[in-house]
C-alpha cells in the first residue's frame, strides 16, 4: 500500500472515530438533558417558585451591560432592563468608547448627569472617561470608558459593582421579566454557587413590546432559522446535559450571573481573547479547585435572555469564526487542566470534550471531507460503506435536532404555532445539506485565525427589534 493511500485511510479512520465519539457524546448529553429537564420542570411545576424566591432575601444584583456601537438597540434594551422584576437591582451600562451615538442616545433618553462612584475592585482596565447616573432612574449608571473590548468593559463594570452578585449581559439582548428571579435561585439553594448561566433565545422577527418579547415566532430569514435550531441544541441538549453531570464549561456572555468576590479574586475577565465568557468559567474552575474553594457552576434552562442573531452569511461566518477562535484561545490558556486529576470530571470529561471534539473538530472534519472525496475518486473506499456511513451521519444529525425540539416542547415551549414546530423539524432535515458544512468551514477559519493570531471581533450588523410601543 502506498504511503499516500495509507495517509488517506488513516485520516478516514480518525474522522470515523471522531464522528462516532462526538455524536455519541451529543446523543448521551441529550438523553441526560431529557431526564434532567423532566425532573426540573416537575420541580418548577410542583411549587410556586416565584413566591419562594420573592419572599426570600434575594441578594442585590448589578446588571453589567457593555455597549459598543449599539445606538439602534441600546435604549430599548435598557428600558426593558428597567422593567425587570427584582427588588434590589443596579444597572451599570459601560460604554466601550462607542464611535456612534450610543452614549448620546442614552444620555438623552435617561437624563444622565455626571457623578462620582468609587470602585470596589481594581482590575486593570482602560481609562474611565466619565461616570453618569440617571436622574429619572437612580439605580441606573453609565460608565464611559476608552475602547478596550467587551471583557475590558465588563471588568470596568466589576470594578464599580457594589453588590455581591453581578449579571453580565449583552447590550443588544432582552431579559425576560422574571429572568433574574429565576437565575438567582441556585444562589439561594446552594451557598457554594459561584456562577449561573441562563438560556439564550433568538428574537429576530418576534414582536417586542415595551421591552418584552411578545408574539414569539420563527424568524423569516433562513439563516436565522437555522440558528434557532442550533441554539436549542446547544442550550437544551448540550449545556443542560453538561450541567446535569456538574461539568458546566460555558456560560454565555449574553446572560450569566456571577459571585463578584470570586470573579475578582480570580482576576476578572481575560481581555486578550474573544472567548472571554468561556475563559472566565474555565478560570473559575481552575481558581476554585486550586484554592480548594467549594463551588458550583450551574446552568438552568428557565431564565431567558433574547438576542438578535446574524441574518447574512457574511456576518454569521465572522461570528462563528470568532466563537471558534475564542474557544481555542480559552482552552489553550488552560491546557494544564487537560486530563489533570486535580480538576476531577472537568479535567477528565468536559475539558477533553471541548478540546478534542469542539476545538479540533473542524480541522478533523474538513480534513475528513477532503480525504473522503479523494478516497472515493481513487476508488479506495467501499461505496456501500460510504453510503451507510453518511446515512448514519445524516440520521444522527436529524435525531439530535429532533431531540432538541422535543426537549423544548417538553420543558419550555415557546413557539405557539404548530407551523413553527413543523418548520423546526423541516430545518432539522435540510440543515445537513450545506449549512453544517458551511459552519465547519467557518469554524475551520476560526482555528486558522487562532493559529495566525488574528485579533478583533469583526463587525456585527443589527437591525433592532421589531418594536411596537416602547414606553415602559
Amino acid at each position: 500500500m502506498s504511503w499516500f493511500l495509507m495517509l488517506l485511510h488513516g485520516i478516514n479512520i480518525i474522522t470515523l472515530n471522531y464522528f462516532i465519539i462526538l455524536n455519541s457524546t451529543y446523543l448521551v448529553m441529550s438523553v441526560i438533558a431529557f431526564f434532567f429537564l423532566r425532573r426540573y420542570t416537575n420541580q418548577l411545576r410542583s411549587f410556586d417558585m416565584e413566591e419562594l424566591i420573592r419572599s426570600a432575601g434575594a441578594p442585590p444584583i448589578s446588571l453589567l451591560v457593555p455597549a459598543y456601537n449599539e445606538e439602534t438597540t441600546c435604549v430599548e434594551s435598557i428600558r426593558s432592563l428597567l422593567t425587570l422584576k427584582y427588588s434590589e437591582l443596579e444597572i451599570i451600562v459601560v460604554n466601550d468608547g462607542s464611535k456612534d451615538k450610543t452614549l448620546e442616545r442614552i444620555k438623552e433618553e435617561f437624563e444622565l448627569r455626571t457623578t462620582s462612584r468609587a470602585p470596589t475592585a481594581f482590575l486593570k482596565t482602560k481609562k474611565v472617561r466619565g461616570i453618569y447616573q440617571s436622574f429619572r432612574y437612580p439605580n441606573m449608571w453609565v460608565i464611559d470608558k476608552e475602547n478596550g473590548g467587551k471583557a475590558d468593559s465588563l471588568n470596568v463594570g466589576i470594578n464599580f459593582c457594589r453588590t455581591p452578585l453581578f449579571c453580565a449581559i449583552d447590550a443588544d439582548g432582552l431579559l425576560e421579566r422574571d429572568a433574574l428571579l429565576r437565575v438567582v435561585r441556585p444562589f439561594l439553594e446552594n451557598q457554594k454557587t459561584v456562577a449561573v448561566g441562563g438560556i439564550i433565545r433568538i428574537v429576530n422577527d418576534c414582536e417586542v413590546k415595551a421591552g418584552m418579547v411578545k408574539n414569539i415566532r420563527l424568524p423569516k430569514n433562513i439563516w436565522a432559522r437555522f440558528q434557532v435550531l442550533e441554539y436549542l441544541r446547544a442550550f437544551l441538549g448540550g449545556r443542560v446535559g453538561w450541567y446535569a453531570i456538574r461539568s458546566t464549561m460555558i456560560i454565555s456572555g449574553a446572560f450569566g450571573l456571577f459571585k463578584r468576590s470570586v470573579v475578582v479574586d480570580a482576576g476578572g475577565y481575560y481581555t486578550d481573547t474573544v472567548g472571554e465568557d468561556l475563559e472566565l468559567v474555565v478560570r473559575l474552575h481552575h481558581h476554585c479547585r486550586k484554592n480548594r474553594i467549594p463551588y458550583d457552576i450551574a446552568f438552568i434552562p428557565d431564565p431567558i435572555a433574547w438576542t438578535e442573531c446574524p441574518e447574512t452569511l457574511k456576518v454569521l461566518g465572522v461570528q462563528r469564526s470568532r466563537w471558534q477562535r475564542g474557544l481555542a484561545e480559552a482552552l489553550t490558556l488552560h491546557l494544564g487542566m487537560l486530563f489533570n486529576p486535580r480538576y476531577g470530571r472537568i479535567g477528565f470529561f468536559a475539558f477533553p470534550h471541548f478540546f478534542f471534539l469542539e476545538m479540533l473538530g473542524p480541522l478533523v472534519e474538513i480534513l475528513g471531507y477532503m480525504s473522503f472525496i479523494v478516497s472515493l475518486i481513487m476508488g479506495a473506499l467501499n461505496t456501500l460503506f460510504v453510503i451507510a456511513f453518511f446515512m448514519v451521519a445524516f440520521v444522527l444529525g436529524i435525531t439530535l435536532s429532533i431531540v432538541a425540539v422535543a426537549l423544548e416542547e417538553i420543558a419550555f415551549p415557546r413557539y405557539p404555532r404548530i407551523r413553527d414546530l413543523l418548520h423546526l423539524f423541516y430545518l432539522a432535515v435540510i440543515e445537513y445539506f450545506g449549512y453544517r458544512q458551511l459552519n465547519q468551514y467557518w469554524r475551520f477559519k476560526g482555528m486558522l485565525s487562532k493559529l495566525f493570531r488574528v485579533k478583533g471581533w469583526g463587525k456585527m450588523e443589527r437591525k433592532g427589534f421589531s418594536t411596537k410601543i416602547s414606553a415602559p
Binding site: 495509507m6 479512520i13 462612584r117 451557598q191 446515512m391 436529524i398 415551549p413
Partner: protein, 366 residues
Amino acid sequence: MDRWRTLETYINYYLYDTTTQDCLLFGLILSTLFLLLLAFLFTLLTFATRFRNMRNDRLRRELVSRWNETLLDVLADVVPEEELHQKVRPKDHLYFVDFLLRHARMLRGEEYEVIKKLAKPYLPTVQKRLKFKDVEQRARAIQTLCELGLEDYEEDILRALKDPSPLVAMMAVRSLAACKKEKYARLILGELHRFDNWSTNYLVSMFASVGRDMIVSLRDILSNVNQPVHVRVVAAESLRELNDLHAGDIAANVIPENSNRDLQAACLRLLAQLGGVKHVEIVRSLAKSEDFVLRAQAVKALGTLGEKKDLDLMEEALRDESPWVAFQASLGLRDNGGIDRLRQFALSNHPSSVFARQVLEEGSQP
C-alpha cells in the same frame, strides 16, 4: 519501518478484512435504524406533548371559568358550598385544590376560611401524596396542606420536618414559618442545621418573617457554643432583622469567644445596628483586624456607635487598602460628625478620596 507495517496491518484489518467490513456495515445499518426509531419516537413525543398541553389548557380554562363564577357566589354567600362541590368531578380533585390554593393566597379573614372549608373534603387526596417517592410531589403536598389544612394535618407537616429530602423539610419549615405561630418557632429552628447549603439571606428572611416569637430561641442559638457556626450566623442575622436590643450583649460576648470570620462579621453587623456604647470597645478591637471583611464591618459599626475619639480611627481607615473599609469609613465620618475631615480628605489626591467624594455627593442628593 515496523511501525508502518503495524499501521498497514491495522488499516487492512479495518478496511479490507471482509468479516470486519461486514460487521462495520451491519453496525452502521443497525445504528441508522436505531436512530431513525429514536427520531420517530421523539417526533411523536413532541407532537403528543403539544396536543396534550393544548387539550389540558383548554380543559383547565373551561374548568376554571366554571368554578370561578360559583366560587365568587359561594364567597358572597349567595349559593351554598355544595353547588361548587357538585361541579368538581373526581378526576379533577387535585386541580380543584390547586385552584383553591391560588385563591387562598389572595384572600384573608372569613373568605380565606371559606376557601379552607371548601378544600377540606379533597385534602385526603393530597395527604396520600406525602407517601410518594417523588420529592417534588411530597414538597408540593406539604405546601398545600400547610396553607389549606394546617389544623387537620399538623402531625403530617411536623413529620415532614424530618423528611430525608432537604427540599421537603425546607418546604415544611417555610410553610410553618409562614404561619407565624410561636409553637412552631423552636421546632423550625431545631432543623436549621440541615440547611447549611441554603443561602444565609434566604434563611434569615424566612425566620425574620415569623416575627418576635423567634427571638428567645434565636438568642439561645447565638450564645450556644455547641451550635454549628452557620446556624449561629443565621441566628445573629435574624436577631438583627428582628431588631432585638438584647442581642447586642450576646453578640459582644460571641466575638471574643469564636474567631470564625462569618460569625464575627455577623455579630459586628448586629452591633452596628443594635449595639450601644458598652460595646464600642469590642468593636474597636476589630477595627484593625488583618481581615478586611472584619475591618469593614467594625468601621461600619464604629460609624454608628463610635465616640468623638473614634474619628481619628475612621480617618485612618479612609486610607485603608480595602475599598470596602475606606467606603465604610467615609460613611462613618459623614454620619458621626466628621464631615469636615471627610471634605478635607475629598480634596486630597489620595486614591481613596473618590469614596469621600461619592459619599458627600450621595449625602447631598435629595
